[in-house]
Symmetry: C2
């Protein structure tokens, strides 16, 4: 509440034009594009959902700003802003008015097309989940969200699991009670998984991971006994001694990004991420002065997310549930398809090698194959998930999945957890965990109340591989096009088959079947890895 003066009003060449621009632009706003067929009830629901989506979009812009622009000293006021907006959103998303609009639209659902039906379906799903959560549990969740994170951070800092354990117990209990209240017919761990990976269940995950696990374990053994790759000294990072001016890296990344077909906003942040909204997608990466390849890899990964963000259903579907990302795994598949299938390919570096030479004098004469080796080398014995390579990463995930499953079905207690963690690291990765800091305390997720989140990372890698294999069938010259720097056919194929489908299908497996003819098949992924790494490491 204030007579706060608009920003332009304070300007040196002050005008009042800015005050009006919102009003002017709204006349051409997205509202008018919603004039499709479909029922009146649906249109009323869509209007409300779009307005809620706009408010959520504001929240996304604030988050981007917080990580890219805002100074730490403004954290308190930003927290107050986010809290005020969250409370407005909560009220809107749980209002009786919204419930009535959904019910009316459901009564006229036969008049709707498939995309509209999907929006009504997901509006109902989200609304019910919100209103079924008892107020008492919501309070506990808010409290534990704060206390659990702090206890985890403190425990990790000191390496003392005992500091975290009582909070972890409360968090598991909270998540079980939440599932019992909101989805009493579901297994409580399935309910957690479904938050991030809708339609996915623990039994289906077990089926997938059981197929993946032995193949991976064997392949990692093969690679670990093969002759290590010779990495070009300029590509050995800090150890190699070469430096790459971050400003020049930024200009290289800007060029790569546009070439891949994204022309949004690229900034820097501590960790690369994709933010903003469907019509205002923003990505970030970071530049390590001793390793330009990691900056490019981050950029390519985020570009994959960005293309998914901006190419989901638009027009009359814009801002409606069907235009949301289908799942965390599908989002990750879109980034990993670019990062691994494209950015870690030899063809990619054959195309970009001359550009790298142009930007960095000392890279003259380094062949594309050297880039390929550097970006794909398997680094053995890494205890930390976030630093793991393509080959070992899924086993870090399998371990977490098996532990979470045990915690939720009661076969593992929080007392056992560190020991069981260490056993699995020895069993699957042959690694001895020296302490809990590098073991059970390494990830932020559990302290942040997130269970069932880890599997999506590896599901993404497998979907990426299966989608890319299908794209290669559909676009016979795909690899040749990548070598020529022509990424448009791939982008168009992804948009047509995946991006533009949004949340039309109720699960990633159903999307996968529509695109590739079958559900997720880990054999495709295993076969890809075997072929790639046996060739790279010259294994017979």
């Amino acid at each position: 509440m204030s007579t706060r003066l608009g920003p332009l009003a304070l300007g040196r060449s002050a005008t009042v034009a800015a005050r009006q621009s919102g009003t002017r632009a709204i006349r051409y706003g997205i509202r008018s594009s919603a004039m499709a067929k479909s029922s009146t009830s649906y249109q009323k629901l869509a209007d409300e959902l779009r307005e809620i989506d706009s408010l959520q979009g504001i929240s996304s812009i604030l988050s981007w700003d917080e990580l890219v622009v805002m100074k730490p000293k403004s954290a308190e006021s930003r927290a107050a802003q986010k809290s005020a907006l969250a409370s407005v959103l909560h009220q809107r998303m749980t209002s009786k008015a919204l419930g009535d609009l959904i019910a009316s639209a459901e009564r006229e659902v036969d008049a709707l097309d498939a995309f509209e039906k999907a929006s009504v379906r997901d509006a109902r799903r989200q609304y019910d989940r919100k209103i079924k959560l008892p107020a008492e549990l919501a309070k506990t969740e808010a409290r534990l969200g704060s206390e659990g994170y702090q206890a985890w951070a403190k425990a990790k800092e000191s390496g003392d699991y005992a500091v975290f354990k009582p909070f972890l117990e409360s968090i598991v209990r909270l998540r079980q009670e939440e599932a019992a209240a909101v989805a009493p017919d579901e297994m409580s761990y399935d309910f957690q998984i479904d938050k991030f990976e809708r339609g996915m269940t623990a039994p289906r995950l077990k089926e997938i991971f059981d197929e993946l696990k032995p193949g991976l374990v064997d392949l990692i053994k093969e690679v670990s006994t093969a002759t290590p790759l010779e990495i070009h000294h300029h590509l050995r990072g800090a150890e190699g001694g070469a430096t790459f001016d971050p400003e020049v890296q930024a200009s290289l990344c800007e060029d790569v990004m546009r070439k891949l077909g994204f022309d949004g906003i690229l900034s820097r942040s501590l960790h690369p991420f994709t933010g903003g909204t469907a019509q205002d997608v923003r990505i970030t990466t970071r530049y390590d002065p001793s390793d330009f390849i990691s900056g490019v890899a981050g950029l390519v990964h985020e570009t994959g997310h960005a293309l998914y963000e901006e190419n989901r259903p638009c027009g009359p579907q814009l801002g409606l549930p069907v235009s949301s990302a289908l799942s965390m795994g599908i989002h990750e598949s879109m980034s990993l398809l670019f990062e691994r299938m494209v950015g870690q390919s030899e063809e990619f570096w054959e195309y970009f090698q001359p550009l790298v030479e142009e930007k960095f004098e000392h890279m003259k004469g380094v062949p594309a194959s050297a880039y390929y080796d550097a970006i794909n080398q398997v680094k053995s014995s890494n205890l930390i998930r976030v630093d793991a390579d393509e080959l070992t990463y899924p086993l870090h995930i399998v371990i977490r999945f098996e532990l979470e499953q045990g915690l939720f079905d009661g076969t593992i207690t929080c007392d056992d957890l560190p020991e069981r963690w260490n056993e699995l690291y020895e069993k699957y990765l042959g690694l001895k965990v020296p302490n809990d800091k590098e073991g059970v305390l390494q990830d932020v997720h559990w302290g942040s109340l997130a269970f069932g989140y880890f599997p999506s990372y590896s599901l993404g890698a497998m979907y990426a591989c299966q989608f890319f294999a299908e794209a290669e069938r559909a676009i016979p010259r795909l690899r040749g096009q990548i070598r020529e720097g022509n990424f448009e056919p791939l982008r168009a194929w992804l948009t047509e088959n995946i991006h533009s489908k949004g949340s039309l299908y109720p699960s990633a497996d159903e999307l996968c079947e529509a695109v590739t003819g079958k559900k997720l098949d880990p054999k495709i992924y295993l076969e890809f890895l075997r072929e790639k790494y046996r060739k790279l490491y010259k294994i017979q």
Copy 2:
């Protein structure tokens, strides 16, 4: 409405920490600082006002983003976001609940301190103005805000006043009807002025400008017949041929800004402005490759605004009406005090000249006096307000004030306006207006529905001068300190006497009296200008 994944959730090193950070930070949030004395009713009102302020803060961040970061292609979705937020804000600011909270706090007003009383007073003022506006007028305002601007832009483009005239007539009528509905006891032009300059009236403005006008007209005549200044060729802008790398200008401006005592965010935008919120103040400037002084001047001006923004009442007053800017004129006084009294002084350039030499090789040996001459030279015969210098600017304002007054008291019609405009330019500035584009159509304000806005610019210049004179009395070595680059005593004096008072006083004149012992006195300003320009132009 969506299962939109949080930005970090999409990140390459994805964590879920970001989702929780808001929740964590709120525990230390500004809410707890509100535990002052005062009544319970007041605290409830304050809580609601702070939440509204947080939502308004979001709107400020979005505006900054729009002018600094956002791509034009995102304009539609941003318009939808702003519209959604505006409608939430309107609902909150006109709610019966807020009205009840204000009424309760008013009943216990005797228990409050002066700052709290001011917040209740201004909450009432703002609430009443909003709820008294008939819905029909609010609709007309929204429509004319769009159509009026467009008609003005079209008229300016073609130089055809007739295109704008019917809209201008509607806008004047709208503003008269608004005043009649909301403040029936006030003169309708006074009501317009009061929106930007609370407590100010047309008769008081007339008194001030009548004192200023003849003195200025005479002084401009003196200067225009004096020998023009010799400007160093490197300081002649495009005409001089010297260039100044914008990157280096940005680094110079960053240094100057920190030296002046502001350590917020500095960016670039088309027009310099100050944005963000009290705890997250952001300024911008622009860099002309042929003229680094204009970039520095913009920076110094915005720094003055920024220091006012971040040093207004904080602690328990933060986010409440008393922490708002007192008026547009006072805001402008804080920027102009820095721009003109500090940044256009010889002492300022004596201090910064070595830094300029360090940044720009070719400025070696150019004395501080050359900067002083360049930044203060009077450019005769400028028809355009925004390009006018310190000496002629107030007459551009006086002309607009007299015309607005005439439009509202009926002595001037929209038919007469261009002719009357041209007469006054001839009378006060001795200038012939060749066409309406450079005449009556030059400013965006009227097409944007803003009447009573212009006077604040010149009030700001006069307050700045009177405040600075008082600061010189209070800090005897002030000019010496500026020469030494010690801006802290001035900053501290401004914060103690002006910034930290926020909207405690109900008018700028009352603040001025509290600070300087008397209301705004244009004689002080005139005397300052006479002394400065007679010395600069060696007039006896």
